[in-house]
């Protein structure tokens, strides 16, 4: 199906403001929703948060008061969109439950993007990152069972496996080794741009979330685990944001942001089974079409370029939340022992990596290891959900 957002008519901006009644959405049921509905909500919240933060940064670098006013007007609507999207999450859910859903997003969004990414260097960046999100899911799942006596599978419902990925303690690399090489804006496939922006936004939201909710826990191991994984989210944001060509002008970046929002709302509208949530995706798509038109006008006026020069002629295939189990198992089998050196990937623990490891661990086991020890003490086993059989990596199988 072809859908060209540049040729669609959206809702005029002066008709987009919603009143309190319209903002007061009914949250999803945490015990009976489709897990991927919750994933779409979390992912889209990350996209809206990035839209808002980007617009603020743009405004702070923009001397033209007329443009500042235009940005403010669109941004206010984006704030309302964020409120509606994120408020679909239920107050009944615990922070840890939402955390596990965040990691399910990271695994199945990054997994899907890795499969769909046409550029081999960018693909490698997603393959590398997804094995770390996968391990975070496993660590948080064990914490969840300790604190709430619930199995993470009640949240992910067999769509995503829960078992070790690349061990979290090995994610702590020297910061300079987290900076990748950017794509070239002149030759990049337009789809690659959308992927980079999507994954960067999702990881940034995860980083912000852990930064703020981690200290809400009272249990020492929970506080410590959020600190540890929160620092890895900093690494991931560095990793993914460095993939984006910094030579893109502010105007061009604005257009890409709006275009990506159209792409994702369209994708989610096409794949959403919950009719109330689907109606929101559809409404927001129709709002974004107008935001995109405004961004394109700004680009023409201030950049002297046609947006068509940098955009795809039509939307790519819908981005889909679906199981990526076989793909992940293949990566677990082949890429567990990778780390980064400069902008590339290596299999040996090099000197800078070793030094960082010594410094951050200080001769002790990190929280991600201690959570497993404490879980084993309580239950005499680990928590895993391996729906497709034994772990593909022999060393990662559970020892009884």
């Amino acid at each position: 199906m072809t859908f060209n957002p540049l040729q669609q008519q959206g809702i005029p901006l002066d008709r987009q403001l919603r009143n309190w009644r319209e903002l007061d959405v009914e949250p999803i049921d945490p015990d009976h929703c489709d897990p991927y509905t919750r994933c779409r909500i979390i992912a889209m919240n990350g996209i809206e948060v990035e839209a808002i933060l980007f617009s603020h940064q743009f405004a702070r670098h923009c001397p033209d008061p007329e443009v500042k006013r235009q940005l403010a007007e669109v941004r206010y609507i984006e704030q309302q969109q964020q409120k509606v999207v994120n408020w679909l999450l239920p107050g009944l859910a615990s922070v840890l439950e939402t955390t596990i859903a965040y990691e399910q997003v990271a695994v199945d969004l990054t997994g899907w993007v890795a499969r769909a990414e046409p550029d081999p260097y960018l693909k490698q960046a997603y393959q590398f990152g997804v094995l770390e999100d996968f391990d975070h899911l496993y660590r948080y799942a064990n914490l969840y069972e300790m604190i709430e006596h619930r199995k993470a599978d009640a949240i992910v419902e067999g769509l995503t496996e829960v078992m070790p990925g690349r061990p979290t303690k090995l994610h702590h690399r020297h910061p300079v080794d987290n900076v990748r090489e950017p794509y070239d804006r002149a030759t990049v496939d337009p789809l690659s741009r959308l992927h980079a922006l999507t994954i960067m936004s999702a990881e940034q939201q995860t980083m912000n979330f852990y930064m703020n909710v981690g200290p809400q826990y009272m249990e020492p191991i929970a506080r410590q685990l959020y600190q540890e994984i929160g620092l890895i989210e900093e690494e991931h944001v560095t990793h993914y944001e460095s993939l984006v060509d910094p030579g893109e002008s502010w105007w061009e970046q604005l257009v890409h942001h709006e275009y990506n929002e159209c792409y994702l709302y369209h994708s989610f509208m096409e794949t959403e089974p919950d009719p109330k949530v689907k109606a929101i995706w559809e409404l927001h798509l129709n709002m974004e079409l107008e935001h995109l038109r405004i961004a394109c006008d700004l680009m023409r006026r201030h950049d002297g370029r046609e947006p068509q020069e940098v955009l795809a002629p039509e939307l790519p295939n819908v981005l889909t939340f679906e199981p990526n189990k076989a793909y992940l198992r293949e990566l677990l089998d082949t890429q567990m022992d990778l780390t980064t050196l400069g902008t590339g990937y290596v299999r040996e623990a090099h000197e800078r990596f070793q030094r960082m490891q010594e410094q951050i661990h200080g001769g002790e086991e990190p929280p991600s290891e201690r959570v497993m020890v404490q879980h084993r003490e309580m239950f005499g086993r680990e928590y895993r959900s391996q729906t497709e059989g034994e772990h593909p990596d022999a060393a990662s199988r559970e020892r009884s």
Binding site: D31, G91, L92, S94, M146, I147, E148, H149, R150, A154, M218, E219, P220, I221, A222, Q374, E377, M378
Partner: protein
């Protein structure tokens, strides 16, 4: 503060895990049919009765006495409990095969979950702040005495539903739970 591993001696950790057990039992009731559902539902009813009785005997008195504004915090919790208990009373002798059962159960689940989260956020948080480890442990012993009255796992054998029923009506269970808690708390508290 002790880690979670040692937290059988921490009343808040214990109650939060019971909230998880209750939620697990709701899942079990929803996902089963026939005799299995009847049995799971009996266990759920009993666990709810025991859990709430223990909170009334152990937690709310502590909050009333030791937490600033505790009187009002408990009043709000009791109002939630009352709503849940009324729904529970309607369901207590319900036919679990009745087509209306699942929608009634969903209403009960929503009330119980809202109550549990409110406790965690507005009551337990003050208990951890106001009680020292020894106190948390002595409160926990009261909860554990109650917990022993309500098995979360099914009795083995095919007669499980009948056996559970044979344990008697919920009102009697509440009385026995109250006695057990008071005996323990009198000893430890």
């Amino acid at each position: 503060m002790a880690g979670i591993a040692a937290s059988d001696a921490d009343v808040v950790a214990l109650l939060m895990r019971q909230h998880g057990d209750i939620r697990n039992l709701f899942d079990e009731v929803e996902q089963s049919t026939g005799d299995e559902r009847r049995d799971a539902f009996r266990r759920l009813v009993r666990l709810l009765a025991v859990h709430e009785t223990a909170e009334e005997e152990v937690i709310h008195p502590f909050t009333r006495k030791s937490v600033a504004g505790g009187e009002d915090v408990v009043k709000d919790r009791l109002a939630e409990e009352k709503a849940a208990k009324e729904t529970l009373a309607r369901l207590d002798d319900a036919d679990t095969d009745d087509p209306k059962f699942l929608s009634e159960l969903a209403a009960l689940r929503a009330e119980v979950m809202a109550h549990a989260r409110a406790e965690e956020r507005y009551e337990f948080i003050h208990i951890r702040r106001s009680a020292d480890p020894a106190r948390l442990a002595s409160l926990a012993s009261g909860i554990k005495a109650a917990e022993a009255m309500a098995p979360t796992r099914p009795h083995p054998g095919t007669e499980s539903a009948k056996k559970n029923l044979a344990l008697g009506p919920v009102a009697a269970l509440v009385d026995r739970t109250r006695d057990a808690v008071r005996k323990t708390m009198g000893k430890d508290g």
